[in-house]
Each structure stands twice: as C-alpha cells, then as structure tokens.
Symmetry: C2
Subunit: 441 residues, 2 copies
C-alpha cells in the first residue's frame, strides 16, 4: 500500500469536527478504497481548549491556519474556515504556492478569488477541489467538471439556499406569513440571527457564480448578478401560484443567450408537477441542461455538518486515489487561462413567462385598461383572473392576476410602469418570473 495521504484541516466548526470524526472512524475502509491511508496530521482552529468531542491527541495543533499551510507536515490543506478574505484566503494561497493540494468548502473564497486560485493550482500541478462550496452534499461540481465534459450547457438553475426553501415551503404548507416562517427557521437554526445574506439571495448568488463559470467557461462574476430576495413574497402570492398550478421557489438561474450570459436570483414560479417543485424544506436541487446529455437534476442536502463533510471527504479521496501531479482536471472545468470575460446579458432582455399580481380600485374600466396596457406592449396572456374576494384584497379593491406567455423583461416593466401611472393601483405590483424545465418548455 502506498504512503498515507497527510491532511491538515483548518477550521474545526461543525463541518471540520464531522470530517475529523468520519476520517477517524472510517480509517480502515478509506485506506482500502483509496489504496492508501488518509491521516490527519495537523489542524488549526481558534480555541484549542474547546471540547469538540473528537480525539486530537495525535495531531499537531497550529494556532494560525497560515502556519499550518506553510509549515504543516501535510499533502492536502483542507480549508473549512469560510470568508473570502483574511486567514482563509492567505492560507489557501500559501498552501497552493507551496505545491499542496487544497480542498475547500468556501463559496465566498471561490466566488471572489476562484480564477486566481485556479491559476496558481494549475501552474503548480495541484488539485483545488471544492465540491462542498455549492449545494452541500450534492456532487454538482464533479458533474459539471467531469461527467459533463464535452457538453455545452445552455441553462443551469437550482434551489441552493435551504433557509429560503424552508421558509417558502412552510408558508405554503401551513399558510403562515413570511415573518412567522422566518422566526421559526431562526428558532430551528436554519436561519441566522441576521438572515439578510440568505433571504436577500446573496448566498445563492455566490454559489450561482461558481456554477456559471463551470458551465459556461467565463470569468467568475459574483457581484454582477440580478438579485431579488424572498422578503416580498406574500401568502397571497403562494396561494395564487398554487391555484394557477405553480409553486414559488428561490432559484438561481444562469442561462446562455444570444446577447450573453444571464445570471439571476429571484423568487420563481415553477410548474407544480415538475420534479424541482417537490423539493421541500432545507433540501437543495440543481438542474443542468446541456446539448449532449439533456437535463440532469440532482437533489440532496444543501448544508449540515455531515453532508458537507461528505463532499469534502469525496474531494480528499479523489486526491488520495491519484498520483501526485497526475491529474489534469481543470479547477473550474476549463483551464483558468482559457476562461473568457463575463459577457453579461442585460436583465431587460430576459425572456420568459411572468406572473403579475395587481391590487386595483374596484371600478368600471380598470380591467380593460390593464388588458390594454399589456396588449400595447405585445404581451400575450396565458391567463387572467379578476377577483374581489374579501380575503384577497381590501373592500372596494380587486385583485387582478395575469400570467403571460413568453415575453421580455423590458415589455413587462414598461407595461407595469404604464399601469402604475393610471392611478388605479394600490400598493406595488407583484411581478414573479416563471421558469419551466426544458421538456415542458
């Protein structure tokens, strides 16, 4: 049997502690499967004294992850600290410069420095694996980077934030408000005390930016993504969606179009009988549409110590199974030097179906006016529902719900603006984009 693969782990939070436990418990099986033992020789974390329920008696402790990366007796540096800058950034860079392989679960680091880090790794002949950075336990990075080689991806989309999906699922199943469901998510530990990063869509955007690059071969553009969170979704939207045969999910979508690449994160109506519509709670899902394979959908746990550790361990095992320097899997699916500039498609030119919910004054002519504004912008309607039921709108108000056939964002924005200028609208119009799986397209 070959020499042990020596790994150093920086960060012993939930994921790090799970990883140590699993590697120690399964050392025999791992050695057989990988053809060599995997040994944790060094770790680094903030508080040496803390009891993590794991045995660290045989490993070297480093107070600073940078020191572990620079001096640790290791073949692989495993970064589980998080954050795009600071110690994670410096130590990963140091490890790669030193010629070590790196495994990381850090989406922010990849989203903001992925290309640079990939360049170093490829120059050094090292592997930089990051399966856990997107969609937790789902092996979507491996699918894009390896299985889909030779495929040209046309669209990739997914549910990549468990917090949002938990809230939307709970709103639908229990008829509760957004605020109530957020509170419950916080109580259960599914949402942070400051939930903005999740519910505003930023977390999904980071993950999406990484998938976009793997799918389309462009430079990563994490800050140039159309973003709409779920804070604005009301129980009325969810009920209306259900009546029309849709469910609302926060999707990250990246799509190749004639004018460039669309990257967008927004609440999305998906057909209720589509597979992705059934993905409930904190579960994640990613769909990839490509020219050769067709549509592939992967569903699994998006977070959690063990699920994330499983992806990290898979990445480590890939390194253990290959000879040093023998792998040429490009870090971002395409060699870093060949990545193209990000050519952004303007959101205005996005094409698709739209759900539009308006609260209007209950008077003659309003309905006709709404229909006319749509027609003037060449928007054809799949369905239009007018109702004045008390529970959906204040008295003397009516709710009008429109579902459009495929049209452009620009047309919808113009139509909505001209409706707003008519003076019969109460509050803001609700506009939710519709996304359909390919076969139903």
């Amino acid at each position: 049997m070959a020499d042990a693969l020596k790994i150093g782990i920086a960060g012993l939070g939930t994921v790090g502690a799970s990883l140590v436990r699993i590697i120690q418990q399964k050392s025999n099986e791992l050695a057989v499967t990988c053809g060599r033992p995997i040994t944790i020789t060094a770790v680094s974390a903030r508080d040496k004294a803390r009891d993590r329920g794991i045995d660290l008696s045989t490993v070297t402790w480093f107070d600073r992850p940078e020191d572990l990366a620079e001096k640790g007796d290791i073949d692989v540096f495993v970064e589980l600290m998080g954050g795009a800058e600071g110690a994670a950034n410096v130590s990963v860079r140091t490890a790669l410069q030193r010629g070590l392989h790196v495994v990381t679960a850090n989406k922010a680091l990849l989203a903001y420095h992925g290309v640079e880090l990939a360049t170093i790794a490829e120059e050094k002949g090292s592997l930089l694996n990051f399966e856990a950075a997107v969609a937790g336990g789902i092996p979507v990075i491996k699918a894009l980077r390896e299985s889909l080689t030779g495929n040209s991806v046309s669209r990739i989309y997914g549910i990549m934030n468990g917090t949002c999906n938990y809230i939307l699922t709970k709103m639908e199943k229990e008829g509760l408000s957004f605020a109530e469901c957020l509170k419950e998510a916080q109580r259960l530990g599914y949402a942070e005390a400051d939930p903005a990063f999740d519910i505003e869509g930023n977390d999904t955007a980071h993950k999406l930016s990484i998938l976009t690059t793997l799918a389309f071969g462009n430079q990563i553009a994490a800050d140039d993504i159309y973003l709409e969170g779920i804070t604005n979704i009301s129980i009325e939207d969810i009920h209306a969606a259900a009546e029309l045969g849709y469910r609302i999910k926060l999707l990250g979508v990246a799509q190749r179009t004639d004018t460039g690449i669309e990257q967008r994160v927004h609440p999305t109506m998906v057909p209720v009988d589509s597979v992705i519509a059934q993905v409930d709670g904190v579960t994640n899902a990613v769909a990839i549409e490509s020219d050769v394979l067709g549509e592939l959908l992967m569903v699994g746990p998006g977070a959690g110590g063990n699920a994330t550790a499983s992806s990290v361990l898979g990445d480590i095992a890939d390194i253990a199974k290959s000879q040093p320097g023998a792998q040429r899997v490009p870090v971002l699916g395409h060699p870093a030097a060949t990545l193209e500039p990000y050519r952004k498609a303007q959101m205005q030119s996005h094409e698709g179906g739209y759900f539009i919910r308006l609260t209007v004054l209950d008077r003659t002519g309003v309905f006709a006016s709404v229909a006319t504004r749509m027609a003037e912008n060449n928007i054809s309607l799949e369905s239009i529902v007018q109702r004045s039921k008390q529970h959906l709108a204040p008295s003397h108000h009516q709710t009008i719900i429109l579902v459009t056939h495929a049209t452009t964002e620009e047309s919808v924005r113009k139509a909505v603006a001209s409706i707003k200028s008519e003076g019969y609208l109460f509050g803001e119009p609700q506009v939710i984009r519709i996304e359909r799986p390919k076969e139903e397209g």
Copy 2:
C-alpha cells in the same frame, strides 16, 4: 500539450455513431478541457458499407472487434456492442490484458463478468469505466465510486427502465390499460418488439446488481434478485394508488438489512408528493441513502444515443485527464479483491408497508374475515377501504383495499394465503409493496 489520447470504438449503433459525431465536432473544446486531444484512430462494426452520417475516412476499420482490441493503435478500447458474452466479452478482456483502458456501456457484461474484468483492470493498472451501463446519462456510477467514498450506503433505489416508466406514466395520465400503453411504447420505439426483458424487470435487475456492488461491496449477483414485472398492474391499481396518495413505479431496490442484502425489482407504490413520484415518462432516477451524505437523488435521461454517449465521453475524458497508470479508482468502488460474498436477505423477511387489493364476494362477514386474517398475522392497517362500485368490481363483488403499516413479507403472504383459503375471493389478490423516501420513513 500532451500526446493525443487514441481511442478505438467497437460498435457503431446509435450510441457509437453519436459518440463519433460529438468527439469530431467538439475536438477543440475537448483538447482544451482535457489538456490533450482525443482522437478516434480505429473503429469496428458489422457493416462497413452502411452510411452512418459520420466521417470515418481517417480511422482504421476492423471487421472484428477482437482484432481492434488486440492490434488497434489505441490507448482506450470503447465497447458499445452489448451482450454479456461473445465479441464484447472477448474483446474487452483482450483489451484489458493488453493494458489498455476500457470504457463500456454494457450492463450485461458488467452484471455477469464485472468482478473478473475489474480484477484484470486493477492488476494491469488500467481504468475500466462504465457510467453509461446504468441509468444512461445519470452519473450515478461516479457518485457511488467517487463522491460517496467513505459513506456507508443503507439503501439505493431507482427508476432504471424507461419503457416501464413510460407505460406506467401513460396508464396513469390517460387512464389506458397496460396493453394499450405497451403498444404505444412499441410504436414510439420505447419498447422492443419482444418487450419481456424490460417489462418483466430483468433490465432493471441487471442495472441494480451493478449498483448493489458499488454500494455494498459485495460480489455481483445479477441472477439472485427478487423479480416482479409490471404486466400485472391494472388501471384499478393505479386509480386506487392515486386515491390513497401514491403512484406506482417499477423500482429496483437494494437495501442492507440485519440478515443480508435485499435486492428486489417490483412495482412499488411511492408517496405522490415524493420527488421520485414526479419522475415521468422515459426519464430515470436513482436515490442513494447513506450515513454521511444523507439522501441524494439524481434524475435524468436513462437511454438515447446522445445521453448515453455523454456518459461514455465523460468516462473517456476522465482517462484523458489522468496520467497513464496514475489513477487508483477501484472499478467497482471497492478493490475487486476485497469484494465480499453476496449474503442474500430472504424476501420473506422484507419489512415494509403493503397495498393489498382483493375482489371478494359481496356477503356479510367477508370484511370481518379479511380484517381478522390480517390481525392474526400481526399486520396493523393504515387504511382499509371497502367498495362495491360497479366500475371497480363485477356486480355482487366488492373490492377491499388494505394499506398496511410496516410488516413482513412473510406475514403478508401468510395472511393472503389464509384469505384465499376462505373461498370468498375472486381472482388473484394484488399485492404491491410500498417504498418511502427516508425523510418520510
């Protein structure tokens, strides 16, 4: 850039022709992504004269695949002929003995000779890749063999036969009989003229036997699988399932139990709101439950020239990206020498819920008798429905539908046998097993 990877393709049917076309069309991208060109240097097929719409002017033609394997100027032998014996078997063996890497889409070859071939490949330091052999375009082999390293799988199940899933979907959506849907599947080319291999479950069993070995590390046991096809499923079963909140799918299920490994292929009721229940038509799906990752579900095309070629190409690309002899991925997930004997769990000891549909004489006491026979066998019931509607049973007959809580196959068989002996039953009782995703368990 490194030397080209030279491949030889044996078999130029739908998949083979797709593969040649894709490799030729995408040669530049493939060379960039893989770090070296992929070149088809030789092929073998039955009829040299046949027009396949592909350019073979620069490749060496072999009439016999065995000759291609033995003498072709190739690094990788790609076997796309099919069949467990004969030319496929001989030529793959020859290629491996010669030290070539092998890529195959041949499930029968793997199911019956996988361990032997894996042994040769591992002795020679060659790769034997077979992503396309199970579930077409879905990268389930890679997930089991690589991503899930270190995971202990508890259950793997899936929809792995497009013909059966097409028929069951069509029966449900259109209310047609099995025979009508089979005819339509044949008309569309989804079913063979002799459909037995698909609809009796044998095709699923072959695929399942391969997954079982990857999941549990046992010798492949393709002929020792509990088998029930879908020919017996009536539209009444599908309607009753729908009313009770289930859909019927032909599943292959492998499960670790206290007494060994269960391998079974049978019509199965899955909860209508589960993700796998939404997998319609010829689409395939595989779910893997394991200790570290949790549940992973993959959905995608299970057949078709392009989808299958995509998996074959991914396998070839994996070889192109690694140095010769540098990869130590065990062919069957575990080194062939360490595979354990197949310890079969008896079907009698299978535990789960059951759906039982009985057509009985409409007379006093029958219902009580059925309930008593269940109770005598310690079977507790989740629901029991009695009805005498004309459309469900001939006049003077009644239909009784039982759904049990978890019980054993043995108990159900005993209860059904004692009900049969009572003399009030018309026809055969219908018994369909229920399978639940873990989280709903």
